[in-house]
Symmetry: C2
Subunit: 430 residues, 2 copies
């Protein structure tokens, strides 16, 4: 397996490997597996190798990601790579500039390996990517190429975006770590908007220290790793109002995780979301569709027939959603955000389902985003950890959620929790 | 003077004029005045006429702006017009798609007359536009072409954006109405971000009914005009902590307006912003610069020398601003938003200064945005009305502010207030 981002940066810095060697290793893995996994929307080996050689030729590292490879979901603009957003409308499209996140990664020394497959405009109409654990199953969506590529060892870390469940769901389905920071954490200039008040840039990796490193780079912090918890955390187990949708493997994962953290000394209690949260599913439809319709106003006006039927339905729903209904949904959601702030005042984090179960069979449906959408609406930071397996030996994650702005605490609690649950992959050695 | 948007739509619908005739009238005005005012970054008469003829040839109106002309600040993407953002870096740049707001206007029947001059990337380094009332004076910025073009009668309405004071300041300097809705009201897909958590799309027009019409179109509402107030409003006069910066003409405007509304029956009291608001100026620097630096990460990495010295300073400041300082500034600002919500619970609106005074002499400095930045930070809807004149006969506006989400109430209070102050231009017949 290729090294993780932290390990790669260290190996390059110590002269034990080169960026070019890492690119060649990734390209070899991709050559072997891409026909099955189909994770990449754009990949030019020469362009990746040229970036790597430039890093290797530098007199000193340009930043903490010097020579480290990153995959970029194909709704981020890239000036040197096509940006097609999973839509025939943008076939061959080459933007004038890099998205902010891409430019910041490059400035920190990263090598952009290529663009990963996205569902159409980061929506629900999936691309061709398969689940690396079972190619007959969906990898989830919409950040499907990013999750599958990381899970298959084609690239150590990748950028994704989440408007409903687009980072954490595919991460769970593919058995990797998915991180959605507090809303607004990573600058969104240069991404295609889905629903502006929800779209959150997130990260896919195989371990938490890689997540922390890329998070630090994108926010301009000195890379500082993850602080260990001083004491076992206070964690609320939150089944959410959607618990009846949870398959047995999700029920088992949450209950096993709750048992493990309790055994390890966590102060565990049960948290029930109060009544207003039950309205969030419908509020999400109103907000997502209203904002999506406007973000797609150009394509709707000029190229409607080349949108998928699913996207056409969403946009039509959004333009039919009255402005007053949208504003009411925004206000109801903001009220829930404040309620959750209060509920998290005397708890460090919540343990909650991340998906309803294993990745379903078939590539036409990327799975149910409902468990994730709730937390995306709430703007809270969330992590999924690949702690469990289902009846078909497919990954099933758990989710840790914390307060808005408490991303550091979230990472610490996640690392502690992963240790308690027993690691499939050590967070330290990825 | 060319008709306003409401009047133009009515005249076209009733067969009293055509969109082509309106375009020709605007082009004639531009031909006469553009050498002095320099409001346009891109204007292709044939393209504008072709759009107008297509509207005139339609069997029925496509929407409430059928045939109505709109100017677009040159940081909105347009698929059929160059989008240069006031920077040599984007000379000749042609985006692949229209920004959401532009596409929605077109879908409602609007004719996009052209792109208006913006300060570099909607920042502080101005373009060449002059104030139509005195070409030796700045029109303000950054939406300078939009404000000057509307004020000079070149186009009835125009889109702008405000991150500090970029819509209301030039509107006051140029003697027109400027409207900044509640943060998040108009979809921002396809604009160049300055500071993502502050950037607000706004409108420039000569009267309030045109503002209401375009607002209704962009939010998908049935155009409904402005509801008259049932009773005189409750208005707090808020001098703000910046009152010592107000020139005599701004002091006179606010005091005259306060007297006029009191005389007309408003329940007027004095509002003092509590201590936390005093920290907003410094919080704004942190937020603006931190977010701006990231939004400009690509240009900073690839084309730094072609950024203005002012922009280089802002970006450098932003990358030097610690993430923790930025997060603290966000939290302090959010706290002020909640405090202001409380203060506006038993008031309909505030009357406050919009600028420190008349437009200053010279085109190299677009004036002080401080009075506006405060309200942009607070995400509240705000309107400036061209009610007064200064010692040099230059316009000096007043400002009405209301609660987040109370944009309807704001428009009603603004109309009532303008009537009280005596109209330079009737809001109904513009």
């Amino acid at each position: 397996m290729i090294p993780g981002a932290v390990e790669a940066a260290r190996a390059i810095a110590e002269g034990r490997t080169t960026s070019e060697a890492l690119v060649r290793a990734c390209l070899a893995r991709i050559a072997e597996r891409e026909e099955t996994v189909r994770a990449w929307a754009f990949l030019d080996p020469d362009l990746a190798l040229a970036q790597a050689r430039a890093r290797d030729a530098a007199a000193k590292p340009v930043g903490p990601l010097h020579g480290v490879l990153v995959g970029i979901k194909d709704i981020f603009d890239t000036a040197d790579m096509r940006t097609e957003m999973g839509s025939p409308i943008y076939a061959g499209h080459r933007p004038a500039a890099d998205a902010a996140a891409v430019a910041i990664l490059r400035a920190a020394g990263a090598v952009i390996l290529g663009k990963t497959v996205t569902a159409e405009f980061a929506g629900t109409h999936p691309g061709a990517t398969a689940n690396p654990h079972d190619a007959a199953r969906t990898p989830g969506g919409s950040s499907q190429g990013s999750a599958a590529g990381v899970a298959d060892g084609m690239v150590p870390v990748a950028l994704g975006t989440q408007t409903g469940g687009s980072v954490l769901r595919p991460s769970s389905f593919c058995g990797i770590v998915g991180f959605k920071p507090t809303f607004g954490t990573f600058n969104r200039a240069g991404i295609k908007f889905a629903a502006e008040s929800l779209d959150t840039i997130g990260l896919h990796a195989r371990n938490l220290e890689d997540i922390a490193l890329v998070r630090d780079v994108l926010t301009g912090r000195e890379p500082g790793g993850i602080a260990p918890l001083g004491n076992p955390p206070r964690i609320g187990v939150c089944r959410t109002p959607l618990w009846h949708l949870a398959e047995p493997e999700t029920v088992a994962a949450i209950e096993a995780a709750a048992g493990a953290i309790r055994k390890a000394g966590a102060d565990v209690d049960k948290v029930t979301l109060p009544d207003p949260f039950a309205a969030l599913s419908e509020a999400r439809r109103a907000i997502n569709d209203y904002e999506r319709a406007r973000a797609m106003a150009h394509e709707w006006r000029t190229d409607r027939d080349r949108l998928s039927p699913a996207m056409q339905r969403t946009v039509a729903s959004g333009f039919a959603t009255p402005d007053a209904e949208y504003r009411t949904a925004l206000a109801a959601t903001e009220e829930c955000r404040r309620l959750l702030d209060d509920m998290l005042e005397d708890r460090d984090a919540l343990l909650a389902p991340v998906v309803n179960g294993e990745a379903p069979l078939g590539l036409d449906y990327a799975g149910d985003p409902a468990f994730q959408s709730l937390w995306t609406m709430l703007h809270v930071p969330a992590i999924t950890l690949p702690t469990h397996r289902g009846p078909n030996e497919m990954p099933v994650g758990i989710q840790i959620v914390s307060r808005r702005g408490a991303d550091d605490l979230l990472l610490s609690v996640a690392e502690w929790t992963w240790m308690c649950c027993g690691l499939e992959t050590s967070p330290s050695t990825g």
